[in-house]
Symmetry: C2
Subunit: 345 residues, 2 copies
């Protein structure tokens, strides 16, 4: 299997004999402009950069001095998703091992520590590919990845579809629908929402899926019972308290993720409300903690390990010079009914 | 800083000019025996192997054909400790990045998947060093590590002091004492224990520290209230239920780790007992979950990230040809008082 990757790389280099001049002609720009994009330098308009990058990718361009890739698959995490990191790593790692690749782990921290940045160090290692978990590369870094022909796949548990690169996500919208239907079936009509950040398209998809299912059942989501905030325990707790202290408090609260739902558990506990007797609570993600809380949590499962494995397989295909069947893969979410939901009292 | 490591490696190679013959003479064995140890082959008595390995380490022997190490620090996890893995990784990673090293992640899974084993693959990558988190290398693998002059440091959150290699742990014994004194101060006298596995020396240290503090206060730990099991939520729940269903149930339960304590929370919840009003519960480790449960958990903090950083620094010292101040480092544990402990009702 390692052999097939090496073969692919050789194919990649052959295709890489395409010159800077050809790319410049195809893009309708000057050769120095293509060089600027290749070297990640500033001074190129954003749409020009994107056009050049797309051509570099399309033609599998590799710099003549490109170094053979290390047998290394890099995984870059953005701090926010750390409670999911192990599950994702354990999906990626067996696939990498099968192909005799090491898996390197980077966590992006802010502010950036002194010295060469994580991205510069990563690029200098010439990995076979990079899985970016909800993490942001700058346009310059994207250009360097493209120029080194290092494939990049976005793994995005919060559902933000990233730019023009291949990505793996889960069906957030249908997850929202499944949860809303479950609460409707139990008889809930006054439903509150503690949603994820409004600038997260994944959080929006969950919320809007829920709203659509309620609409279809003739139940209007009351905007006064909808709150949004960060995907954290603390935001869940504080927003949950706001909802639960209202005289017309909801009989059920849908949350943007499991951490927010644990926060709503804590808010209910402080107010002396019992889950599910006084309040049903539903999470999203199905992290380990959903089985360790009291009561065990009803939630929507995101198949994080499978998402990691899928991203790794996509990278290995790309690194081998192959073409992906589809640039965006969404794995199915599934409602997991435990004990935090019951008919309203 | 990367320069200093490279320099150290050169020093290592110079010292490595020591021959197999010299090692054989020093060990009082034949040259073929030294070769067997170097190549990880069988047919060498265990004490002979240990003596030869010690000499190889002591003299920084490297095989003439040894490959220059990759700028890679490997971290190997044994499945059990996965809820701690992210915290450990985030301690190791900044130290590695400062030295421009990638951090590779391996999780040991059983049964071993087909193909080259994780250990063979890891050794073939020639990393600068290996942090083994509660994971077991066979004598053959140890020999290969020694022969490749790949330094190994054990990071052991469950406190088992591993063989003759450098290691990092935490002060489990004093943690046990701190917890017991806290419960005594609150007025508890009928104290139950849900401890970790009896074959884990770290679990034993926690339990015996607790027993010593109780003895010193003239309070005898009632053996009928002591249970031991795996470091899991499920074992904590089942053993906790055994204790809580007794007519003379304890007023407080000390647990071997936080997952077991979350299990005791669940057992109490099923029986309609309130923490801390009807029962005090204390964990050990201070994983994230201790802040997300109701009530927030009193526990003993193990500084996992600092332990990871320490292990990484030890490896970098060893890889640079340096000598460790001490082969075993124990970082301090600290009692963290939250809301799961109160005076007995």
């Amino acid at each position: 299997m390692a052999g097939s990757i090496a073969d692919g790389q050789r194919r990649g280099r052959r295709r890489g004999e395409l010159t800077v001049g050809t790319i410049a002609r195809l893009a309708g720009v000057s050769k120095p402009t293509v060089s600027k994009v290749l070297n990640g330098r500033a001074g190129v308009a954003s749409d020009t950069r994107q056009r050049v990058e797309a051509l570099l990718r399309e033609h599998g361009y590799r710099r003549p001095d490109a170094i053979a890739p290390a047998a290394l698959l890099e995984v870059v995490f953005y701090g926010l998703e750390r409670h999911m990191a192990v599950e994702i790593m354990r999906g990626i790692e067996p696939v990498a091992r099968e192909h005799e690749l090491a898996v390197a782990f980077t966590e992006v921290v802010e502010p950036t520590p002194p010295g060469r940045s994580w991205a510069e160090q990563l690029l200098a290692r010439h990995p076979l590919g990079v899985v970016a978990v909800h993490s942001a590369f700058t346009p310059e870094q994207h250009a360097l990845l493209a120029a080194s022909a290092i494939p990049l796949v976005a793994l995005d548990p919060s559902g933000e579809p990233l730019h023009a690169i291949p990505s793996v996500g889960a069906t957030n919208w249908s997850g929202g629908i499944a949860v809303a239907r479950h609460l409707l079936d139990l008889g809930h009509r006054r439903i509150g929402v503690v949603g994820g950040p409004p600038d997260s398209l994944g959080a929006r998809a969950r919320l809007e899926g829920c709203r659509a299912a309620l609409d279809a059942a003739g139940v209007r989501l009351d905007d006064r019972l909808v709150r949004t905030g960060e995907f954290t325990f603390e935001h869940g707790r504080d927003l949950g308290r706001e909802l639960l202290e209202r005289p017309d408090r909801p009989t059920a609260v849908l949350c943007g993720n499991d951490l927010q739902a644990l926060g709503v558990y804590a808010a209910a506990w402080r107010l002396g409300l019992r889950v599910p007797h006084d309040l049903s609570v539903v999470g999203f993600d199905d992290i380990d903690n959903t089985r360790w809380c009291c009561p065990p949590m009803t939630t929507v499962r995101q198949p994080l390990a499978e998402m990691g494995a899928t991203a790794a397989r996509m990278l290995i295909t790309l690194a081998g010079g192959g073409v992906l069947d589809q640039p965006r893969v969404e794995l199915a979410t599934a409602l997991v009914v435990r004990e935090s939901t019951a008919p309203p009292a």
